[in-house]
Protein backbone atom coordinates (compact mmCIF):
# COMPACT_ATOMS: atom_id res chain seq x y z
CA UNK A 1 0.00 0.00 0.00
CA UNK A 2 1.21 3.51 -0.77
CA UNK A 3 2.38 5.47 2.28
CA UNK A 4 0.07 8.31 1.37
CA UNK A 5 -3.25 9.16 -0.22
CA UNK A 6 -3.04 11.36 -3.28
CA UNK A 7 -5.68 13.86 -4.36
CA UNK A 8 -5.30 15.95 -7.48
CA UNK A 9 -7.36 18.96 -8.44
CA UNK A 10 -7.20 20.45 -11.91
CA UNK A 11 -8.83 23.85 -12.34
CA UNK A 12 -8.90 26.51 -15.05
CA UNK A 13 -6.36 29.26 -14.33
CA UNK A 14 -9.07 31.74 -13.31
CA UNK A 15 -9.56 33.72 -10.09
CA UNK A 16 -12.92 32.13 -9.30
CA UNK A 17 -11.34 28.70 -8.82
CA UNK A 18 -8.72 29.78 -6.27
CA UNK A 19 -11.29 29.68 -3.46
CA UNK A 20 -12.55 26.29 -4.64
CA UNK A 21 -9.05 24.80 -4.48
CA UNK A 22 -8.44 26.51 -1.12
CA UNK A 23 -11.55 24.97 0.44
CA UNK A 24 -10.69 21.55 -0.95
CA UNK A 25 -7.25 21.72 0.67
CA UNK A 26 -8.86 22.92 3.89
CA UNK A 27 -11.10 19.85 3.85
CA UNK A 28 -8.21 17.49 3.17
CA UNK A 29 -6.06 19.04 5.92
CA UNK A 30 -8.82 18.62 8.46
CA UNK A 31 -8.91 14.87 7.65
CA UNK A 32 -5.37 14.41 8.95
CA UNK A 33 -5.84 16.40 12.11
CA UNK A 34 -4.34 19.83 11.50
CA UNK A 35 -5.38 22.48 14.00
CA UNK A 36 -7.67 25.31 12.99
CA UNK A 37 -4.71 27.71 12.90
CA UNK A 38 -2.59 25.37 10.78
CA UNK A 39 -5.46 24.88 8.34
CA UNK A 40 -5.74 28.65 8.00
CA UNK A 41 -1.98 28.78 7.28
CA UNK A 42 -2.37 26.06 4.65
CA UNK A 43 -5.26 27.92 3.06
CA UNK A 44 -3.25 31.11 2.74
CA UNK A 45 -0.05 29.41 1.52
CA UNK A 46 -1.82 27.33 -1.13
CA UNK A 47 -3.91 30.31 -2.24
CA UNK A 48 -0.73 32.33 -2.70
CA UNK A 49 0.78 29.66 -4.94
CA UNK A 50 -2.42 29.20 -6.96
CA UNK A 51 -3.00 32.96 -7.22
CA UNK A 52 0.52 33.33 -8.57
CA UNK A 53 -0.20 30.71 -11.23
CA UNK A 54 -3.53 32.37 -12.11
CA UNK A 55 -1.95 35.80 -12.47
CA UNK A 56 0.66 34.53 -14.88
CA UNK A 57 -1.83 32.62 -17.00
CA UNK A 58 -4.64 35.18 -16.78
CA UNK A 59 -3.85 37.14 -19.92
CA UNK A 60 -3.31 34.12 -22.10
CA UNK A 61 -6.02 33.54 -24.67
CA UNK A 62 -6.40 29.84 -23.93
CA UNK A 63 -6.29 30.42 -20.18
CA UNK A 64 -4.56 27.22 -19.26
CA UNK A 65 -4.97 25.02 -16.26
CA UNK A 66 -3.46 24.71 -12.81
CA UNK A 67 -2.77 21.37 -11.22
CA UNK A 68 -2.86 21.11 -7.45
CA UNK A 69 -1.60 17.78 -6.11
CA UNK A 70 -1.98 16.90 -2.43
CA UNK A 71 -0.20 13.96 -0.79
CA UNK A 72 -1.72 13.11 2.57
CA UNK A 73 0.46 11.34 5.15
CA UNK A 74 -0.47 10.60 8.77
CA UNK A 75 1.86 13.36 9.95
CA UNK A 76 2.10 15.82 7.06
CA UNK A 77 0.61 17.19 3.88
CA UNK A 78 2.59 17.88 0.71
CA UNK A 79 1.05 20.27 -1.75
CA UNK A 80 2.28 20.79 -5.28
CA UNK A 81 0.99 23.65 -7.40
CA UNK A 82 2.00 23.50 -11.04
CA UNK A 83 1.28 26.13 -13.65
CA UNK A 84 1.61 24.55 -17.08
CA UNK A 85 -0.95 26.88 -18.59
CA UNK A 86 1.47 28.88 -20.65
CA UNK A 87 2.74 27.99 -24.07
CA UNK A 88 6.45 28.62 -24.44
CA UNK A 89 8.86 30.13 -26.83
CA UNK A 90 11.33 27.31 -27.21
CA UNK A 91 14.50 29.42 -27.22
CA UNK A 92 13.33 31.49 -24.31
CA UNK A 93 12.43 28.40 -22.32
CA UNK A 94 15.73 26.73 -23.13
CA UNK A 95 17.56 29.70 -21.64
CA UNK A 96 15.58 29.49 -18.45
CA UNK A 97 16.04 25.78 -17.95
CA UNK A 98 19.40 24.73 -16.66
CA UNK A 99 21.15 25.37 -13.40
CA UNK A 100 18.72 26.15 -10.64
CA UNK A 101 19.01 29.81 -9.81
CA UNK A 102 17.23 30.57 -6.61
CA UNK A 103 17.55 34.32 -7.01
CA UNK A 104 15.79 34.17 -10.34
CA UNK A 105 12.87 32.08 -9.05
CA UNK A 106 12.42 34.34 -6.10
CA UNK A 107 12.31 37.38 -8.37
CA UNK A 108 9.75 35.67 -10.56
CA UNK A 109 7.42 34.91 -7.71
CA UNK A 110 7.99 38.14 -5.83
CA UNK A 111 6.66 40.42 -8.52
CA UNK A 112 3.42 41.86 -7.28
CA UNK A 113 3.75 41.15 -3.62
CA UNK A 114 4.18 39.15 -0.52
CA UNK A 115 3.03 35.80 -1.89
CA UNK A 116 6.25 33.80 -1.71
CA UNK A 117 7.20 35.36 1.59
CA UNK A 118 3.90 34.17 3.10
CA UNK A 119 4.37 30.67 1.66
CA UNK A 120 7.85 30.45 3.18
CA UNK A 121 6.62 31.71 6.53
CA UNK A 122 3.47 29.63 6.82
CA UNK A 123 4.79 26.28 5.54
CA UNK A 124 7.56 24.09 6.99
CA UNK A 125 9.34 23.33 3.71
CA UNK A 126 9.12 25.05 0.34
CA UNK A 127 10.75 24.30 -3.01
CA UNK A 128 10.27 26.17 -6.25
CA UNK A 129 11.08 24.77 -9.67
CA UNK A 130 11.03 26.84 -12.79
CA UNK A 131 10.81 24.48 -15.70
CA UNK A 132 7.95 24.57 -18.20
CA UNK A 133 6.16 26.99 -15.93
CA UNK A 134 6.45 27.39 -12.22
CA UNK A 135 5.99 24.54 -9.77
CA UNK A 136 5.78 25.14 -6.05
CA UNK A 137 6.22 22.24 -3.62
CA UNK A 138 5.34 22.82 -0.01
CA UNK A 139 5.08 20.69 3.09
CA UNK A 140 3.42 21.21 6.44
CA UNK A 141 3.69 18.85 9.41
CA UNK A 142 0.91 18.05 11.82
CA UNK A 143 1.83 18.96 15.40
CA UNK A 144 3.17 15.92 17.25
CA UNK A 145 0.46 15.82 19.87
CA UNK A 146 -2.21 15.77 17.20
CA UNK A 147 -0.61 12.82 15.46
CA UNK A 148 -0.61 10.80 18.67
CA UNK A 149 -4.27 11.62 19.23
CA UNK A 150 -5.05 10.52 15.69
CA UNK A 151 -3.20 7.25 15.99
CA UNK A 152 -5.02 6.57 19.24
CA UNK A 153 -8.36 7.25 17.61
CA UNK A 154 -7.61 5.01 14.68
CA UNK A 155 -6.32 2.09 16.78
CA UNK A 156 -9.03 2.21 19.42
Amino acid sequence: MKPFDYVEIRVPAKPQYVGVARLTISGLASRIGFTYDDIEDLKIASSEAITNAVQHAYNEADGGEIVVGCALYPDKIEIMVADHGKSFNFEETKEKVGPYNEQQEVQFLREGGLGLYLIETLMDEVKVHHQEGVTVFMTKYVEEKRVEDNVENISS
Binding site: P15, Q16, V18, G19, R22, L23, S26, D37, E40, K43, I44, S47, E48, T51, V54, Q55, G112, G113, L114, G115, Y117, L118, T121, L122
Partner: protein, 130 residues
Protein backbone atom coordinates in the same frame (compact mmCIF):
# COMPACT_ATOMS: atom_id res chain seq x y z
CA UNK B 1 -14.55 51.06 -19.32
CA UNK B 2 -12.58 50.53 -16.14
CA UNK B 3 -10.85 47.23 -15.42
CA UNK B 4 -13.37 46.61 -12.66
CA UNK B 5 -16.37 47.29 -14.90
CA UNK B 6 -15.01 45.03 -17.60
CA UNK B 7 -14.35 42.39 -15.01
CA UNK B 8 -17.76 42.82 -13.39
CA UNK B 9 -19.48 42.57 -16.74
CA UNK B 10 -17.63 39.35 -17.41
CA UNK B 11 -18.45 37.93 -14.00
CA UNK B 12 -21.94 39.30 -13.52
CA UNK B 13 -24.51 36.70 -12.72
CA UNK B 14 -21.98 33.95 -13.17
CA UNK B 15 -20.31 33.77 -9.81
CA UNK B 16 -21.39 34.63 -6.33
CA UNK B 17 -18.92 37.03 -4.76
CA UNK B 18 -18.36 36.57 -1.09
CA UNK B 19 -17.30 40.11 -0.24
CA UNK B 20 -19.08 43.16 1.04
CA UNK B 21 -17.74 46.70 1.25
CA UNK B 22 -19.80 49.53 2.71
CA UNK B 23 -18.37 53.06 2.73
CA UNK B 24 -19.49 55.92 4.94
CA UNK B 25 -17.96 59.26 4.06
CA UNK B 26 -18.42 62.31 6.20
CA UNK B 27 -16.38 65.46 5.64
CA UNK B 28 -12.85 64.45 6.48
CA UNK B 29 -13.69 61.04 7.85
CA UNK B 30 -14.14 57.74 6.07
CA UNK B 31 -15.39 54.53 7.58
CA UNK B 32 -15.33 51.31 5.57
CA UNK B 33 -16.95 48.09 6.71
CA UNK B 34 -15.39 45.14 4.95
CA UNK B 35 -16.69 41.60 5.17
CA UNK B 36 -16.29 38.22 3.53
CA UNK B 37 -13.34 36.66 1.74
CA UNK B 38 -10.61 38.82 0.25
CA UNK B 39 -8.63 36.88 -2.34
CA UNK B 40 -7.59 37.22 -5.98
CA UNK B 41 -11.25 37.05 -7.03
CA UNK B 42 -12.65 39.70 -4.70
CA UNK B 43 -9.66 42.00 -4.07
CA UNK B 44 -10.45 43.98 -7.28
CA UNK B 45 -13.85 44.88 -5.76
CA UNK B 46 -12.21 46.20 -2.61
CA UNK B 47 -9.61 48.08 -4.66
CA UNK B 48 -12.28 49.70 -6.83
CA UNK B 49 -14.33 50.73 -3.79
CA UNK B 50 -11.36 52.22 -1.96
CA UNK B 51 -10.03 54.06 -5.01
CA UNK B 52 -13.51 55.58 -5.48
CA UNK B 53 -12.98 57.51 -2.25
CA UNK B 54 -12.18 61.14 -2.85
CA UNK B 55 -8.92 61.74 -1.04
CA UNK B 56 -8.75 64.85 1.09
CA UNK B 57 -5.86 66.49 2.88
CA UNK B 58 -5.43 65.13 6.41
CA UNK B 59 -8.18 62.56 5.97
CA UNK B 60 -8.96 60.02 8.70
CA UNK B 61 -9.93 56.60 7.47
CA UNK B 62 -11.02 53.56 9.42
CA UNK B 63 -11.23 50.14 7.82
CA UNK B 64 -13.33 47.80 9.91
CA UNK B 65 -12.31 44.21 9.14
CA UNK B 66 -14.35 42.44 11.82
CA UNK B 67 -16.39 40.45 9.27
CA UNK B 68 -13.44 39.36 7.14
CA UNK B 69 -13.30 35.55 7.21
CA UNK B 70 -10.34 35.09 4.87
CA UNK B 71 -7.59 37.32 3.54
CA UNK B 72 -4.25 36.77 1.81
CA UNK B 73 -1.59 38.90 0.10
CA UNK B 74 -4.05 40.14 -2.52
CA UNK B 75 -6.04 41.85 0.25
CA UNK B 76 -2.90 43.12 1.97
CA UNK B 77 -1.81 44.66 -1.34
CA UNK B 78 -5.06 46.62 -1.68
CA UNK B 79 -4.94 47.83 1.93
CA UNK B 80 -1.28 48.87 1.63
CA UNK B 81 -2.03 50.83 -1.56
CA UNK B 82 -4.88 52.63 0.22
CA UNK B 83 -2.62 53.29 3.21
CA UNK B 84 0.02 54.83 0.93
CA UNK B 85 -2.53 57.05 -0.84
CA UNK B 86 -3.95 58.39 2.43
CA UNK B 87 -0.48 58.92 3.88
CA UNK B 88 0.53 60.87 0.78
CA UNK B 89 -2.27 63.29 1.74
CA UNK B 90 -1.00 63.49 5.34
CA UNK B 91 -3.96 61.46 6.47
CA UNK B 92 -4.28 58.53 8.84
CA UNK B 93 -5.54 55.00 8.39
CA UNK B 94 -6.70 52.83 11.24
CA UNK B 95 -7.60 49.16 10.93
CA UNK B 96 -10.17 47.92 13.42
CA UNK B 97 -11.94 44.72 14.43
CA UNK B 98 -9.17 42.36 13.39
CA UNK B 99 -9.35 38.76 14.56
CA UNK B 100 -6.19 37.27 16.06
CA UNK B 101 -5.68 35.40 12.77
CA UNK B 102 -5.89 38.55 10.71
CA UNK B 103 -3.65 40.48 13.08
CA UNK B 104 -1.07 37.70 12.69
CA UNK B 105 -1.14 38.11 8.90
CA UNK B 106 -0.23 41.79 9.32
CA UNK B 107 2.41 40.98 11.93
CA UNK B 108 4.28 38.30 9.97
CA UNK B 109 4.47 40.56 6.93
CA UNK B 110 5.84 43.42 9.03
CA UNK B 111 2.82 45.60 8.29
CA UNK B 112 1.70 45.38 11.90
CA UNK B 113 4.53 47.70 12.91
CA UNK B 114 3.83 50.23 10.19
CA UNK B 115 0.07 50.47 10.42
CA UNK B 116 -2.29 51.52 13.20
CA UNK B 117 -4.13 48.32 14.10
CA UNK B 118 -6.80 47.72 16.71
CA UNK B 119 -7.66 44.09 17.36
CA UNK B 120 -11.03 42.72 18.20
CA UNK B 121 -11.32 41.13 21.61
CA UNK B 122 -14.62 39.41 20.98
CA UNK B 123 -14.83 35.64 20.55
CA UNK B 124 -13.80 34.57 17.07
CA UNK B 125 -16.67 33.35 15.00
CA UNK B 126 -15.39 33.80 11.49
CA UNK B 127 -15.03 30.60 9.60
CA UNK B 128 -14.91 30.61 5.86
CA UNK B 129 -17.85 28.65 4.56
CA UNK B 130 -18.30 26.58 1.45
Amino acid sequence: MSEYKKWKKFMNGVYLMNIEVVLKEEENFLKAFIGGEIDVLTAPILREKLTSVQLKEGMHAELNLSDVSYMDSTGLGVIVAFFKNINAKNGHVKLTGLSARLKRLFDITGLGEIMDIETDVKVEKNYETI
